[in-house]
Subunit: 208 residues, 2 copies
C-alpha cells in the first residue's frame, strides 16, 4: 500500500516517471491531511471547559472526520488501482479492425472506471469542507488558523480530483455519459469552492 | 523525523491533539507533494523524441524541483522544532512583574522565530509555482492535468504557510517588526496566487 510508505518515499514515488501514484491519489492524500487538521482542532477543543456547550457536537465531528480520513487514505491506493486497466488499454497494440475495436471498447470502459475514484475523492472532500464550516464556529479559538489551512487542503483535494475526472471524460467517445459525469463534477465544485473560500476568508478576518 | 513516518501515521499524528505537526508542517508537506507532481511531469517528458527541443530545460527544472522537494520535506520537521520554544514560552507561569516581563520577552522572541519556517515554506512554494509555469508549456501533454494539480498544491502550501505567519505576527508586541513580516507575506501572496491561478486556468482550458 502506498500510504504505508514513509512520507519521503511516497513523495519520491510521486516524483518518479512511474504512472502511479499520480495527481488523483495525491489529491486524496491532501484531502486526508485537510481532514486531519480538522480533527486536530476538534481534539484540542475536546474536554475544554470553555467549550463545554459544544462538546457533543465536537464528538460527532471527530467521529465523522475519522471515518473520512480513513476513506481518503484508502482512496490513495484505490486511485492507483483504478488506473491500471486504463494504462493496459492504452498500451494495447492493434493491427486489424477487430483489434482496434477491442482496444476502443476496453479504453472506453477503463476511462469510465478511472473516473469513479476521483469522483469519490470529491464527495469526501466536499463533506470535509462542511466539517470545517462547523469547526470554524465551534472549535477552539487557539487553533483557528488550522481550520483555515485544513479547509484550503480540502478545497484543493476537491479541485485536484476534479481535474482527474475531466482528463478522463474528455477522452470518452460516449459524450452523453461524459456530460453526466462532468455535470456531477461541476455541481460539487460550485458547492464546495465558494463554501471553502468563505470559511477561509472568515478565518483570515480573525487572524489578520 | 516526522517525514520518516508512514503517510498514515503522519496523518494520524496531525489529527491528534498534540501541537506538532501542525498547519505549517502540513503546508510544507503539501508543497513537497506539489513539487513532486511537477517532477513527475518532467520525468515523463525526459528522453521523449517529441520533446527533444526542451530536454535541456527539463533537466534544469528537474534538478531545481528535486532540491525544492528536499527542502520542503525538511521544513516539515523544522516547523515542528520552531514551535517548541513558542509552546514553552506560552506555558511559563508568572507571579511577579519580573517573571511576567521575562515571559513576555521569551514569547516575543519565540513568535519571531516561529515565523521563519513558514516564511521559508512560502519562498519555496513560490519558486515551485514558477517551475509549474515552465512545465505547463514545456512538459509532456499526456501529463498536463498533473501540472494543474501540482500548481494547486503549491498555491495551497503558499497560502497555508501564510496563515501560519499571520497567526504569529498578530500576537507580536513589536508592531513595526510584525508589519515588515506581514508585508513580505503579502508580496509573496500577491505574486504567487494570480500566477498559480493562471497556470491552473490554462491547464483547465486544455482539458475541458
Amino acid at each position: 500500500m502506498f500510504t504505508d510508505k514513509s512520507c519521503t518515499d511516497f513523495i519520491n514515488m510521486l516524483a518518479s516517471g512511474s504512472p502511479t501514484p499520480g495527481g488523483g491519489g495525491a489529491s486524496a492524500m491532501v484531502g486526508a491531511l485537510g481532514v486531519a487538521l480538522g480533527s486536530m482542532v476538534g481534539n484540542l477543543t475536546l474536554g475544554k471547559k470553555k467549550y463545554e456547550s459544544v462538546q457533543l457536537d465536537i464528538k460527532v465531528i471527530l467521529d465523522r472526520a475519522n471515518k473520512l480520513q480513513n476513506e481518503l487514505i484508502s482512496l490513495v491506493q484505490a486511485d492507483a488501482e483504478a488506473f491500471e486497466p486504463l494504462s493496459k488499454a492504452y498500451s494495447m497494440s492493434y493491427g486489424t479492425d477487430e483489434e482496434k475495436n477491442k482496444k476502443d471498447t476496453m479504453l472506453e470502459e477503463a476511462l469510465k472506471q478511472a473516473c469513479r475514484v476521483p469522483l469519490e475523492i470529491m464527495e469526501k472532500s466536499l463533506e470535509a469542507i462542511s466539517l470545517h464550516e462547523e469547526l470554524e464556529t465551534k472549535g477552539t479559538k487557539i487553533a483557528i488558523s488550522d481550520v483555515g489551512v485544513g479547509v484550503l487542503f480540502c478545497k484543493t483535494a476537491l479541485m485536484g480530483a476534479s481535474t482527474n475526472v475531466y482528463i478522463n471524460t474528455k477522452l470518452m467517445k460516449d459524450r452523453e455519459y461524459a456530460g453526466i459525469i462532468n455535470l456531477q463534477v461541476r455541481k460539487m465544485l460550485q458547492e464546495g469552492i465558494p463554501k471553502a473560500d468563505n470559511i477561509y476568508i472568515t478565518v483570515m478576518s480573525k487572524i489578520t
